[in-house]
């Protein structure tokens, strides 16, 4: 049984990487604007459908569609933030929940209307299929690609946040938006750019996820729980926390399904409850 452990762990890390990519935008939005955005999954779904349409209708190769999916979702995020989200930052959590739930329903209905309620297939390029043997373990090529890509993006994000001025502005705004505004930081612009970036990353994640998680109009609702889980457990606004939570949840979910499939689905919720009890503010803030 333990001979399979490295394989299972790798699968868990791959799944977790995908979760991270899709959830990091939500985490920063919640940490920065304190906005509960249940519609985050809709941006991921948009990225997925853009990718499918681009490949099927326009014949664009998969790898080229990835940045396009990012751009499409980012553009949608930018527009929605400026027109709608911006007006709700100071509203009650209930209002935010309702608004984003409404947006989600509209996106699900829209996707059903345009593409029908079935699964969208995606045909990956040949060089991303199959398995390779790495250090004695059979790993899927596509999952290896996922982990590598997400790793690179994470490194880029960390660089952005730690080493650039813009990153410093983000960190300041997360810590205290009012004080930052008082220091002359254009907090509105920081919000806008981060929301755009977060939505774009979600769209990229959605496109990458088609092969692993599937794509259909109910995607935003199906995976909403996982995104929220990651953000709440990892602590909103923290890259390190979100990454840790994603990997943890990914590994536990996959291992749970592999080793104890009878309770596989429970493992992830049980883990969430335990972590929330121990760390009410999320992993980042540590135990109270």
């Amino acid at each position: 049984m333990f001979a399979s452990l490295p394989g299972v762990l790798f699968d868990g890390v791959a799944y977790g990487s995908l979760l991270f990519l899709m959830s990091i935008g939500l985490s920063v939005t919640m940490g920065l604007m304190r906005f509960i955005n249940l519609a985050h999954g809709a941006f991921a779904m948009l990225g997925g459908y853009v990718c499918v349409v681009g490949m099927a209708r326009l014949g664009v190769p998969f790898l080229l569609m990835l940045p396009l999916a990012f751009i499409a979702a980012a553009a949608a995020g930018a527009v929605l933030e400026r027109t709608l989200y911006r007006r709700l930052y100071r509203r009650s959590p209930l209002d935010q929940v309702l608004f984003s739930l409404g947006l989600t329903l509209m996106s699900v209905a829209g996707a059903t209307y345009v593409w029908g309620s079935g699964q969208q297939p995606v045909h990956l390029p040949g060089f991303l299929l199959g398995q390779v043997r790495v250090l004695g373990v059979d790993v899927g090529v596509y999952r290896l690609f996922l982990v590598a890509l997400v790793g690179a993006i994470t490194a880029a994000l960390v660089l952005l946040v730690r080493r650039t001025r813009f990153g410093a502005r983000i960190r300041a705004s997360v810590d205290d938006a009012q004080a930052s505004a008082g220091l002359g930081i254009n907090v509105t612009r920081v919000f806008s750019v981060t929301f755009t970036l977060g939505s774009g990353l979600a769209g990229l994640g959605g496109a990458l996820a088609i092969d692993v998680l599937g794509l259909d109009p109910t995607f935003p609702l199906k995976y909403l729980v996982y995104f929220l889980l990651v953000v709440v457990v990892g602590g909103a606004g923290s890259i390190a926390g979100t990454l840790a939570a994603s990997l943890l949840l990914g590994v536990f979910d996959v291992s749970g399904k592999y080793y104890v499939p009878a309770v596989g689905a429970f493992v992830i919720y049980g883990l969430m409850l335990v972590l929330l009890l121990l760390f009410p503010g999320g992993l980042r803030r540590g135990a109270r």
Binding site: I36, L101, T104, L105
Partner: protein, 326 residues
């Protein structure tokens, strides 16, 4: 009332609009005899919404997992009826107890933390209970549902008929009884303290109000009521499906309550009626349109109509009164 109380408790008299509401509900038995099945399901959902109103509208807890108590109550009544105890009223009491216990047990993690944490916890508990019921398929019937319920005649006299009349009267009676209790609660000092917690929980300890205890108490009561609603559904349909514990039941309920207006007690009832009637009419035309327009309505409501239907009606009434007073 003898001496005027030192603190002005909300007026306990019945407004004409309230009386009209309940009379209309009774009249429906005669005016819409062919729609009583839908009617009883509207009443049951209204009862469920009432229980959410207590914790959301009055205590400010946003829950996405309220179906957990509803489903627990439904399965309780269902299992009792299936295994020989078919008496309806005692089934309701058992369901209330189970709903209360589950609410109480989970209240410790559900009421603490910030809004997002509470949302996640309630959501997670709901999902876990759903999975548990699915796993325990030998007991609950899993996805196939619990059937073969032998619910006995109500009060030994009234069998549950095909047209749904007994079900409707039963649901209406239970709803009214519970409503009276809730009305009493929210107009009491306890109810006022809940509103204080909703509006500013940090300040409450300063006036000596035990926040956590109050929240746990109201959460438990709401759980009991949700359990009763679930049991009603099980008994009147003689069936318990797994989706009584599902996420969409919790989410739809939240939408209904907000549509009608949280914090008025009637908001849940009005919202449930509007939502379910609209849904049964519109989704037979085209279900995709229903979902889209519902989403659009929610977005529009957040920007325009704060307070839902009842809230808007109350605001309109205020304006009319003010104009009349000039």
């Amino acid at each position: 009332m003898s001496a005027a109380p030192a603190v002005a408790l909300p007026d306990a008299r019945w407004r004409p609009a309230e009386v009209a509401f309940w009379l209309a509900a009774v009249a429906a038995i005669f005016v819409f005899p062919g729609h009583l099945v839908l009617g009883s399901q509207v009443l049951i959902t209204g009862l469920f919404a009432l229980s959410l109103d207590l914790i959301l509208g009055y205590a400010g807890i946003v829950s996405l997992g309220h179906a957990a108590m509803f489903g627990a109550g439904a399965y309780t009544a269902g299992l009792l009826a299936k295994h020989g105890w078919g008496e309806p009223l005692s089934g309701l009491l058992a369901a209330a107890a189970v709903g209360a216990v589950i609410a109480w047990a989970t209240s410790f993690i559900a009421v603490r933390g910030e809004d997002l944490t509470r949302l996640m916890v309630t959501l997670g508990i709901g999902l876990m209970l759903y999975e548990a019921a699915n796993q325990a398929a030998s007991v609950t019937g899993g996805v196939d549902g619990l059937s073969d319920m032998a619910v006995r005649d109500l009060l030994g006299l009234f069998p549950f008929d095909l047209a749904g009349r007994t079900a409707y009267v039963y649901s209406l009676a239970v709803l009214f009884a519970v409503f009276l209790v809730c009305r009493r609660i929210v107009r009491s000092p306890f109810g006022l303290s809940l509103r204080g917690i909703r509006d500013g929980a940090r300040r409450m300890p300063a006036i000596g109000s035990p926040v956590r205890r109050r929240l746990i108490a109201v959460y438990t009561v709401a759980g009991a009521i949700a359990g009763v609603a679930g049991a009603l559904l099980a008994q009147t349909t003689q069936f318990v499906g797994l989706e009584v514990l599902g996420f969409s039941r919790s989410a739809d309920l939240l939408i209904m309550l907000v549509l009608g207006g949280a914090g008025w007690l009637y908001g849940g009832l009005v919202g449930a009626a509007l939502f379910m009637i609209a849904q049964s009419q519109l989704s037979s035309i085209n279900p995709v349109y229903w979902q889209f327009w519902l989403g659009l309505l929610l977005v529009a409501m957040v920007f325009a109509a704060r307070g839902g239907v009842v809230g808007a009606a109350a605001a309109a009434r205020e304006r009319l009164l003010r104009r009349a007073a000039r």
